[in-house]
Symmetry: C2
Amino acid sequence: MTTAKLDVVGIGNAIVDVISQADDAFLAAHAMDKGAMMLIDEERAEAIYGAMGPGIEASGGSAGNTIAGIASLGGKAGYIGKIRDDLLGKVYRHDITAAGVAFPTPAATSGPATARCLILVTPDAQRTMNTFLGACVGLGPDDVDAEFVASAQVTYLEGYLYDPPLAQAAFRRAAEIAHAAGRKVALSLSDSFCVHRHCQAFLDLVEGHVDILFANEAELTALFETGNFDDAVARVRRMVELAAVTRGAKGSVVVTRDELVEVPAAPVARVVDTTGAGDLYAAGFLYGLTRQLPLAECGRIGSLAAAEIISHYGARPETPLAAYIQA
Amino acid sequence: MTTAKLDVVGIGNAIVDVISQADDAFLAAHAMDKGAMMLIDEERAEAIYGAMGPGIEASGGSAGNTIAGIASLGGKAGYIGKIRDDLLGKVYRHDITAAGVAFPTPAATSGPATARCLILVTPDAQRTMNTFLGACVGLGPDDVDAEFVASAQVTYLEGYLYDPPLAQAAFRRAAEIAHAAGRKVALSLSDSFCVHRHCQAFLDLVEGHVDILFANEAELTALFETGNFDDAVARVRRMVELAAVTRGAKGSVVVTRDELVEVPAAPVARVVDTTGAGDLYAAGFLYGLTRQLPLAECGRIGSLAAAEIISHYGARPETPLAAYIQA
């Protein structure tokens, strides 16, 4: 096994977020489940956009946010994801490249437009997401560059990647390449509804291919179809080498077969928008892990990175995280 | 004179902002004057965008920000500005319409793309702006709908409108329509460099057409080519009916021929990005003025609206201002 050139390569849906404020009545009127991610077609995207308030646009995508976070911490990171050669695709490539991330995936020159996620943030700082997958449906195993994946200590996959049809094959190919090179494979479960949609496939994948699992409480209990958190934690410890489970304001629990570490949440003066909290927790955690830091320290950096992201709108850091975690 | 249907109609450059963080070395390396607005061509826009950090996109434009602010306060507002029928133009129309503003100007179907302003925010919260005017150069007198302008108590013009070639004629036409209908004309000087570029034209315009003038200290002293603030204030009182001069953390000074009111700045926990401070001061001030509130109260609402905008990135309110000024 050669020395890894990169800390983490992320594979995910390359999505530009359109973020707006909304109240609970708006969510109800448009049949949205608060806190969830719903897949929508272009027609519904137009209808929701027409009805929602003024927005800000910023690059997003769960794994993209994590990877940008790792780069902001000073880590060496790469990204694989599918954009179209349109204006939003150009914005996506600019932002992730300007963050210091290697992004070799070519843009599609035909087919659907670059993906958009219409994010409604309610006054309680929860985000409800409506994703038009667009060009992401074109991501397939051919986009998984073997040398690029093998060059990273960890290959990080987002659960949302199970939604576009070809991406599952890309997923498996990436895991096989990583393991053949003696690297680790990490997965984020992304969303409890996403877990419900793909429950058995996720269980097979976690059991067969995943070394490091990221989830929140709702996603983990959904995966094991149990209402009991401790039971879910006990089961995940037998299934993966390492799992980090976030619990919002209660902090996180990090487990291996032999260890259980409880990590407190980092304080935040005012929680504005929880979009990206899990993504940035994973960023901080993986930054620490790829530097062989103790698990408690990995969790602490994850909590700090999450605290920065929920203090403002958008899921990419506003403050260089390397300085933020020192302060 | 009939009762006005609208409080304020704004006329300005319709611009989408691309906001990023930068340090002083970046400004120096790209020959930018900190705090200023520089006009750039598409080639330079591409070069700066390629070099700058990850961005967020949000609708902007000086008068557009003011008008969106008035609507957020609960005022009845309209906007005239030129976009192209492209993605950014669609974003611009969505945002200002979703803010509750009437925006009848048709998009251009040919010619340059919707305007962009690349805004670099330094750690001292100052913004430095690089504007590619794009479709704004197409705004002309034909875009000034007489009935629309005559229906507003105040027609508000941004000084930046003096940069695109046809807009000066639009400016004069709007002022003539407003005055013929017995309405008031307001002008914001926008930028001391913009004042330098058009100094005599601005003096003629202010003297001949403007009832209400908004400026900051640097712009006002530039207009009268004096280094003495008190002298500039004395001269502006003889020239316009009402002037509101902002002085950053020192608050603002509101003058008529007979009155001088000093207004303190509203406290801000952390100044993040000063983009839009003057625009939102004007929004709050005009909201109060069109409700016939005392000048001190107009200034107080202006200061509060400015305080909200400088507490986050971007120049459109994140908090509904009607609630914010009550709190």
